[in-house]
């Protein structure tokens, strides 16, 4: 799955070859309707079960989030926020299912230095291929959503696969299948956008004037999208970035810095070579060897003289 043997690889990390590009791209997407989520964590359980992962038992510190953060074994996590809306004076329980957003322009893939450790399939899913992962954690720096986690056991990066294995055989992701309220939907990106618009209209009719679809353009759109009641303030949902994009630092490091680096090193090496073939070596002439001997002899005569005087 991780090499160009498949026609379904659109992008491959740290690879200089042109990926195959003749097949039409049918993009998929997961739509998470935050307004329908009841915070039951069935998606978390389904994710652990399908992927056969059991995270360590944690400690209760008095918040609903369990575990407290995404980990190498927890690829999706319900994040709970209690929000007092100043306009309505209502307490709103904003529950967001966090996990990889499967960006069209993935920062992790851009940052990855290991060929084929991160791939993007033609359906838009961004997948880590742990076999090729070297554990440098560059993906962590590349990601605008703070998603990848490095395992302390094997020092490899992990995150949501959007159940690429299930999707490949026509199944919906495990979380979508398990959701009891239908808050997690899965289908083609087109269908999910259409569905989202229906939901947004419904929410607006019920007083959520700023309801909208979160499909951030800064990363080229995502293949995990949210319906938010407050799409004007995504940060309310436990720090969901308002305008995510690949950090300019990462973009420069992977773009201009590479060109600058190779050019600088190449220039230094070539400058030396061309200096040698023009100016030539700087050689000591025999007269200078003699001068040195004279200089040394004079010095030792002086020294002897001083020794006699003292």
């Amino acid at each position: 799955m991780a090499d160009y043997a498949s026609l379904d690889i659109r992008q491959r990390s740290a690879s200089t070859d042109q990926p195959p590009d003749i097949r039409a791209h049918q993009e998929v997407a997961k739509l998470i309707d935050v307004s329908k989520c009841i915070g039951c964590k069935a998606c978390q359980a389904a994710c652990e079960e399908w992927n056969d992962l059991r995270d360590d038992v944690g400690i209760n510190v008095g918040v609903y989030d369990n575990p407290h953060d995404l980990t190498a074994k927890t690829w999706t996590l319900m994040r709970f926020t209690e929000y007092e809306n100043p306009e309505t004076n209502n307490l709103e329980w904003l529950i967001r299912k966090d996990g990889c957003m499967h960006c069209s322009d993935p920062g992790c893939l851009k940052a990855c230095p290991s060929p084929g450790a991160i791939v993007q399939y033609s359906n838009g899913i961004v997948d880590f291929v742990e076999e090729n992962c070297i554990g440098c954690a560059y993906c962590v720096k590349g990601c605008p959503f703070n998603i990848p986690r490095i395992s302390k056991t094997d020092r490899k990066a992990y995150k949501c696969t959007l159940c690429s294995d299930r999707v490949a055989v026509g199944q919906a992701p495990a979380c979508a299948k398990a959701c009891p309220t239908g808050a997690i939907m899965f289908g083609t990106k087109e269908a999910m956008i259409e569905q989202a618009h229906d939901r947004v209209d419904d929410l607006k009719s019920r007083g959520f004037k700023q309801a909208g679809l979160y499909d951030p353009k800064g990363v080229g759109g995502t293949h995990v999208m949210y319906v938010l009641h407050h799409n004007d303030k995504p940060h309310l949902y436990n720090g969901l970035p308002d305008d995510p994009k690949i950090s300019p630092l990462v973009a420069f490091w992977k773009g201009g810095a590479k060109v600058f680096g190779l050019a600088t090193m190449g220039f230094a090496a070539l400058a030396g070579f061309f200096h040698y073939v023009t100016a030539g070596p700087n050689e000591v002439v025999p007269e200078e060897e003699e001068e040195a001997i004279d200089l040394k002899d004079r010095a030792s005569r002086n020294r002897d003289g001083e020794a006699r005087l003292s």
Partner: protein
């Protein structure tokens, strides 16, 4: 002496012509054995760091990971090599920093950089143990190694991944790679200078330079130590002690 019969004319003659007059050369000690070992350990570490670092810098050089046993091993070994280099370079720094403090001659020398690169030594001021170019390499590497050490710790995920914010780590990654390419470019110049200025390699391999080399390139230094050189020119210990 081995006498051989020359197949061309059947005459007997020595295998090599023996020069009757060997030009007299004195050898001037420049580096002690310990200093040379220190230098070469640093050089080997720098080379390994360059190869393993560039492997992770651009996909075009990713094949270099094969030299270190694959990508994971390269990632694991690179920071440790860095720590070793910092230790080794610290000793070099302590030995040589005083000799690398810039002075008036360096200004004069730098102004005449055109004469430097065209081998017009006769137009340059007399210099102490190091010229401004060598001092530039010294201070350049000192600063860049310090930058790479600090930023390297920040991006060393295994031990310091949680110590700083991701934004700090992004800055560190960028600074680390830029410092590295500049340091590598400086080392290219450093190596080339050793090839270009004939007789220089001897200082780091044997510990000595010829009197002529010292006279040509670092005459002030030669004057400083001339009095301490052994009296009889023929009996100079070539090991440089």
């Amino acid at each position: 002496m081995t006498i051989h019969t020359d197949v061309r004319d059947g005459e007997s003659r020595p295998l090599r012509e023996v020069r009757t007059e060997v030009p007299e050369v004195i050898y001037v000690p420049r580096y002690t054995g310990l200093q040379r070992v220190n230098h070469w350990i640093t050089a080997i570490l720098f080379t390994l760091l360059t190869l393993s670092g560039l492997a992770m810098f651009t996909p075009f050089l990713n094949f270099l990971t094969a030299l270190f046993g694959g990508g994971q091993a390269t990632r694991a070994i690179h920071p440790w090599l860095g720590v070793a280099l910092v230790v080794s370079f610290t000793f070099l720094f302590m030995r040589f920093w005083r000799l690398n403090i810039p002075n008036r001659d360096d200004v004069e020398w730098s102004k005449k950089i055109g004469d430097v690169v065209t081998n017009r030594e006769d137009r340059l001021p007399e210099l102490g143990k190091y010229n401004a170019g060598q001092k530039g390499v010294f201070w350049g590497q000192t600063i860049l190694i310090l930058v790479m050490f600090v930023t390297g710790l920040v991006i060393w995920n295994e031990y310091f991944g949680q110590a700083t914010t991701i934004e700090t780590q992004r800055w560190a990654l960028l600074a680390h790679s830029l410092a590295a390419v500049i340091a590598i470019a400086i080392i290219f110049v450093h190596i080339y200078a050793g090839i270009w200025v004939r007789g220089t390699g001897r200082a780091m391999v044997r510990g000595t330079v010829t009197g002529g080399w010292a006279y040509r390139h670092h005459r002030k230094w030669l004057r400083q130590i001339a009095g301490t050189l052994p009296t009889r020119s023929g009996s100079v210990d070539k090991r440089g002690h």
